[in-house]
């Protein structure tokens, strides 16, 4: 049992530690107060399974922005209109870099690549398009991850939990889209909303911090700002969303659909 429990005879909240912090021991008042509150707690007898979140909900919060947990009701996806994506434009890439704080370190072979512009050609035509994590419904990176660091959120966003990532880079190998990169250099002054650090794998998060606030990913915003409007972000599960209506209206493709990963990022040429 951890410290400060009710009827804690072991008295782990002893004045010993408190006094080590150079204060007069608050033991007496603190413990009395705690026993009192613990008694109140038992008489109130809160429902079993009370959680920190329920606790947070008890006092209406203005502190936490955003909505509750992600649910399977949504499946977030992107539609990229290849016909509108300009060859010489990389606004999405620079917006992503600025939003998430990744930058080139002068080692092109190992630099982070959350999103990149690629040029594809075939059948006499050439197209330029951005490729990032495809947020698969059956992500191979999650299958191979030995620690559970690679995971898919309920709303379909595929992420790396860097607390659990051991940097084995198995997911980097498994991803058919080369969407993941590894941080080789020690970092400092990361952005508060986009923690990233040496020894862990990273990739496009679909700007999960923005999505949770009801905003669009940075690349989509930047693409719209250039006037190209080649990217649409939205809920693939909602037939009324702009992205779903566009997908229903025009033919779209998933990259390497034959692999059966069912990516949430779609490419099309309809307009």
């Amino acid at each position: 049992m951890s410290c400060c429990g009710k009827n804690d005879k072991s008295g782990c909240c002893s004045g010993e530690k408190s006094s080590a912090f150079g204060e007069p021991s608050p033991l007496d008042t603190a413990r009395r107060w705690f026993l009192k509150s613990a008694a109140a707690f038992t008489t109130v007898a809160l429902a079993p399974g009370v959680t920190l979140m329920a606790f947070a909900g008890a006092a209406p919060a203005s502190a936490g922005p955003g909505r509750g947990p992600a649910t399977a009701k949504e499946r977030w996806g992107l539609l990229i209109d290849v016909a509108k994506c300009a060859d010489d434009c990389s606004a999405c890439v620079s917006a992503c870099s600025k939003e998430n704080g990744w930058k080139d370190t002068g080692h092109p072979l190992t630099d982070p690549q959350w999103i990149r512009k690629v040029t594809v050609s075939g059948k006499g035509a050439t197209a330029s398009l951005p490729v990032m994590c495809q947020h698969c419904a059956s992500p191979p990176c999650v299958d191979v991850c030995p620690t559970g660091a690679s995971f898919k959120r309920a709303d379909g966003i595929v992420l790396v939990d860097k607390h659990l990532c051991i940097g084995c880079r198995y997911c980097v190998m498994a991803c058919p889209y080369k969407a993941r990169s590894f941080v080789h250099e020690p970092l400092e002054d990361q952005l508060a909303h986009a923690p990233r650090g040496k020894g862990t794998v990273e990739s496009c998060t679909l700007c999960v911090h923005r999505v949770d606030e009801g905003r669009q990913p940075a690349c989509v915003e930047a693409c719209a700002a250039t006037g190209h409007g080649a990217m649409i972000f939205g809920d693939l599960n909602d037939p009324e969303s702009a992205i779903s209506r566009r997908i229903a209206q025009f033919p779209t493709h998933q990259l390497r659909a034959d692999l059966g990963c069912d990516p949430g990022v779609r490419y099309g040429t309809g307009s």
Binding site: G66, A154, I157, D189
Partner: protein, 165 residues
């Protein structure tokens, strides 16, 4: 005579056993031994930087013992479940407890004056949080204070205690 010395021996053994037990208990750091605060100047003690406002999101003593559990719990709900309605976060810690350096800017964790390092250096407990997380605020001005009742705190305590089980 023999009976008397036997009784004496038993008493001595019993007292010795009691003393040993209490010494062992004192050694594991869980006894309720009250210690007198060291006289000023004798023992080096950490002086952690105070945050903004009256107190932290929970009373100071409680935070000293439970902050790590709260951080760990909230990281899981935030990262995996995408629930950002929680009121506690490492971001809020950093924003509230930032210490200004000589240049007037908040110091990073590379500076021994950083609010986490003040105690963690003293206790020789290494923290890896700032290998990935920002160790100084980017959006100043936010203050998080505990505004719940003692019952709220008791519920929170019980919840945190249950996390390890």
């Amino acid at each position: 005579m023999l009976v008397r010395s036997t009784i004496l021996a038993v008493l001595v053994l019993a007292i010795g056993g009691l003393l040993t037990t209490s010494a062992l208990r004192a050694g594991d750091g869980t006894t309720a031994v009250e210690t007198v605060p060291p006289p000023p100047g004798r023992t080096p003690v950490p002086v952690p930087a105070k945050g903004k406002g009256d107190q932290c999101v929970a009373p100071t003593d409680w935070m000293r013992r439970n902050h790590m559990t709260m951080l760990k719990h909230q990281r899981n709900t935030t990262v995996h479940e995408g629930d950002r309605t929680g009121r506690f976060s490492i971001k809020a810690c950093v924003e509230c407890h930032a210490v200004k350096g000589v240049d007037g800017k908040a110091v990073t964790v590379t500076d021994p004056k950083h609010f986490c390092r003040t105690c963690h250096d003293y206790a020789a407990v290494s923290i890896d949080c700032f290998e990935c997380h920002a160790s100084r605020p980017q959006e100043p001005g936010k203050v998080a204070n505990f505004r719940g009742s003692p019952e709220d705190l008791a519920a929170l305590t019980r919840y945190v205690e249950g996390l390890g089980k």
